[in-house]
Symmetry: C2
Subunit: 355 residues, 2 copies
Amino acid sequence: MNSKIVRIKDIAEKAGVSTGTVDRVLHDRGRISQDVKEKVLRIIKEMNYEPNYSARALGSNKIYRIVALVPNHTNDSYWYEAVMGIEKAERELKQFGINVSRYKFDPHNIATFIEKAQEITDSAPDGIILAPLFYKETLPFFDKWSTMKIPFIIFNTQISEYSPLSYIGQDSYQSGLLAGRLFSQVNPDPCSILIAHIDEDIGNASHLIKKEQGFRNYFSHNNLSDKYTLHRIELQRKNYSLFQKQMDSVIDNNPDLQGIYVTTSKGYAIATYLEQRHIKSIKLICYDLVPKNIHFLNKGIISFLINQNPRGQGYWSLHHMVDYLVFKKKVPLIKYLPLDVIVKENINYFIHEDN
Amino acid sequence: MNSKIVRIKDIAEKAGVSTGTVDRVLHDRGRISQDVKEKVLRIIKEMNYEPNYSARALGSNKIYRIVALVPNHTNDSYWYEAVMGIEKAERELKQFGINVSRYKFDPHNIATFIEKAQEITDSAPDGIILAPLFYKETLPFFDKWSTMKIPFIIFNTQISEYSPLSYIGQDSYQSGLLAGRLFSQVNPDPCSILIAHIDEDIGNASHLIKKEQGFRNYFSHNNLSDKYTLHRIELQRKNYSLFQKQMDSVIDNNPDLQGIYVTTSKGYAIATYLEQRHIKSIKLICYDLVPKNIHFLNKGIISFLINQNPRGQGYWSLHHMVDYLVFKKKVPLIKYLPLDVIVKENINYFIHEDN
DNA sequence: ACAAATAGTGTGTGCGCACAAACAGTAACC
DNA sequence: GGTTACTGTTTGTGCGCACACACTATTTGT
């Protein structure tokens, strides 16, 4: 086909102007007369010009400074994966003139988050990607960054009140629906199912509410409300004897309990409990490929894991930022990552390095 | 860290030679004295030099001609997806000086395959990617391409007798194991399960044998052979009344039949049958997100689909070829794509365009 | 009327690299 | 001692683009 590559020079020739003029049209800089601008723009469209990004990265000596603000991952494989994803994208995109620096905060210490976010703000980078774990404390920074015109991309935790350049992560509602489907597949007979929130302040965690909502709606929308009875519990692990007591009571009061849906990665806590109590009839579904969950998945105590793909979140966050900054592409406001259903037999494909 | 980018010029300076000499070391061209060569190589390692591929693509005006030989996809969404994947990779990599042309053959007509493969051979491209559907007819071409030193990458169908640059696709054995796991999840009680091969010449389709092997081994390795009884059948749709008769007989003879594993995308044929016979108790698992399967998945007649990800296969095939040709990277001999478990609630993430 | 400001456009250099042509140094041969 | 035949190395040009600078033509101010 039309394999001829269109260059700025070609456009300039056809328009009867110099390359400098075309450049000014392309980048909206300097002064151009209206008619020339229109003419050049028309020809750019006609000839289907696409900038050569390699040459652009070469020519403009600009280095974009991008910072990533993520929870400290020394003891947390979930955030470790996210950082791995960022680093993978960094390796791929390094040659286009980007410089990524990572800032870490303690996910259990809001002060460290604020401190690092302030540091970042002071350094005025070209772009920011972050996992905004602390809802209220994040908003003021979103404000600042907006006025400073620093684009920011959030991942893992969706905050819709303030519009970032893009959100990367899972569709919580849909993942609740998915969990519902999985339970209805593994539990063909009528039974009770428990929704368990562990170690979370539900009031401040809208994504967990969405998961629960999706889960409940799966049953109601599919006319399964008569077949399955849903229960709900909030548990804290810090008082483990209370944790056990609460679980004991649920089990005792619901002899037909056949499934437990844990809305976070803390499913292994329930798995440990079930193992201790020698309960084998209850199906367990939760999130994330952290070692303890993998352990119980392999043992058959967890039936399915749903992968939130932290690696992909990190990877796409940086990718989108570079798309925006370097390639001037439009980036979608929301990128929902696939909902991966994980069992022992396919887990390897989701935890392996894969360069 | 060491954010300074190392250029050829830097190496030349440190080695006390010109950039041209470093260039000849890097590309093994021209004559170089042994000691200079060693010195330069040492410094390249010391300074951790990484070529700037953007600049390289610019500087070398070379355009790599890559051809893709795929089944005609006008009426086949599976191969259409594969081509979409190739085109997506093409868009991403165009700027690095590659030119991709597509050759199509009729998957039901070996002659067209041979014809196109010959055309490709005559045109002596820089690289070939193909889905080698016809085992015997492909081997001679592998031979030719090897002597012509044209690298080729195969996808979808693994042929291990002749070593291509890389294979992209699914691990058939592992996907059989996965199917086994899924059946044991959805069928908690002892029952019979049928393995169905549809429209295939099993003797010439080693990947189907591997799937069956994996499936059977799931049950034997997990001590489930007593719980589940496996049956096996080969069906042809061209004689549909026979097809029905065979199925009727299986159903009648095995009242405890609770599951059917179809080793290809033809699960919708069984689904149609089950729907006609108003059989709802039998779980069905098969491959690929083709419209008819999606239809029955949404209806609840198919329990799970396993995605062979044709789009990803095409995408990675081209990507690997470019990694090899342009970036001179080592490409893995085998890239197994993830085994995606698909239900109605997560299927959208696997069929949507996603740019 | 003449300088100064402004609008609009062209030219040149460099980014990191590939590649070819030019060049220097050495040994061999008559 | 000069030619030839190499071997090894440097230099220069161009890839497509960004960007600073130079330049001209027109307008504005006084």
